[in-house]
Amino acid sequence: MITLSTITRATLAKDLRLEWRSKDAINSMLFFSLLVVVIFSFVFNPTAEESRHIAGGLVWVAFLFAAVVALNQTWARELRNQVLDAYRISPAPANALFLAKALGNFIFVGVLEGLMTPLFIVFYSLRAVGPAYQLPIVAALGTWALVVNGTFFAAMSVRTRAREIMLPLLLFPISIPALTGMVEATSAILTGDYSAKFWIALLVAYDVVFTIACLFLFETVLHAE
């Protein structure tokens, strides 16, 4: 009996192996967010004190744009050789595929964040005034909020004519509350001016609502004909 978890694990392992050998997504994301960091530093020319207030927004905008690069490749890879069609006619549960793709993207974006955060700290001389232990929580919740909807909408946009441009058009409006939550929580922790608790709760609510919605609707979208 093939279970949900075995298929998820197999697909995830395949994606990670592909990425490990090619490093397409991670390299382009890294370079892209590096460019965003450098360009922003020319736009704002911030002092350390000022940068603490804008860094929350800046970091997440860089990660959001970079994540789109990885998300666009998620399903495009499966279109070659009709892999996606093969998956659709196989009896494997659609949600297993979705979970594998979402977890894969979560890992890619997580690695990107891990590599880019030191660079942000160096370039903008950041230091958390508030409780720093909350930052990884915010990062994990925020990243999941981006990739769970991003993976879902990428599966939608891959069917449209203007594939690459369609994903941000769909993802950004829906992500506004999540983005507000991430930015405000990060700013709260970096400046220590106010508590990040409400924003973390908002991110949890967003994650729960949209994870359920994605799992509920993914099969319908995958089999849309």
Binding site: N149, F152, M156, R159, T160, R161, A162, M166, L169, L170, F172, P173, I174, I176, P177, A178, T180, G181, E184, Y194, F198, W199, L202, A205, Y206, V209, F210, A213, L217, T220, V221, A224, E225
Partner: protein
């Protein structure tokens, strides 16, 4: 049903002109704001109509996903398109009023911002409908409509907290509303609803006709290609 269309058209024309007269001539002038306040007779009914249309869109999307009825999908397209038009009216008339009264065109206040985000979500919905292949459009669009509806309360809460935390730049003049103003408001809303119904109706008929034409053309192409 078709016979009712001209009746609805006449009713709409009557209500709209009567509403215009009531709003511009009969309704009392506002104590604080003067004549400029009269734009709310268009602003507020447009907002209510837009929200109602988006609600219908959401319901129609769910109905489509459950029963796969093409008519529900046609209703979803129509209400989204007309809703975006009404929402645009709200977003344009708002700043026109805010400039003389508040002294600024726009403020990132909760209602303004959430209306703007709603508008963005539905514009992206229309983009998706435009760019996807016709066979898959209904399902993809219905899924997006459900995501959008789930997003609305989260948007509202996030902005509510965001704005209560930061100082509010301006607060609209309070005070109670004259009952005659209410009357004109509701009259204009009725007129706008009738107009929306009229536009939706003709757009719905157009949509159904278009789909029939597409189906016929596809069938003809199939018949021509098949060997005699």
């Amino acid at each position: 049903m078709k016979r009712f269309f001209p009746i609805l058209a006449i009713l709409t024309a009557g209500l709209l002109s009567f509403g215009l007269y009531e709003a511009l001539v009969v309704a009392p002038t506002d104590q604080m704001q003067g004549e400029v306040y009269r734009i709310i007779y268009y602003h507020v009914p447009s907002a209510w109509t837009a929200f109602l249309l988006f609600l219908i869109n959401f319901v129609a999307s769910i109905v489509y996903l459950i029963w796969r009825d093409m008519r529900a999908d046609a209703v979803a397209v129509v209400t989204a398109e007309v809703g975006v038009v009404y929402c645009t009216i709200v977003l344009v008339t708002g700043p026109l009023w805010a400039r003389p009264v508040w002294g600024i065109w726009w403020t990132w206040d909760i209602r303004l911002t959430s209306t703007l985000v709603l508008w963005l979500i539905y514009v992206s919905y229309l983009f998706l409908r435009r760019f996807s292949n016709s066979g898959q459009t209904p399902v993809l669009a219905a899924a997006l409509a459900i995501f959008g509806a789930l997003d609305v309360p989260l948007v509202y809460f996030s902005i509510w907290f965001f704005r209560t935390q930061h100082p509010q730049p301006v607060v609209g003049g309070g005070g109670s509303i004259d009952p005659r103003m209410w009357h004109v408001w509701l009259l204009n809303w009725a007129a706008f609803l009738c107009f929306a119904g009229l536009v939706c109706w003709s757009r719905y008929r157009l949509e159904i006709l278009q789909r029939e034409v597409e189906e016929t053309q596809a069938l003809e192409a199939l018949l021509e290609r098949s060997p005699r």
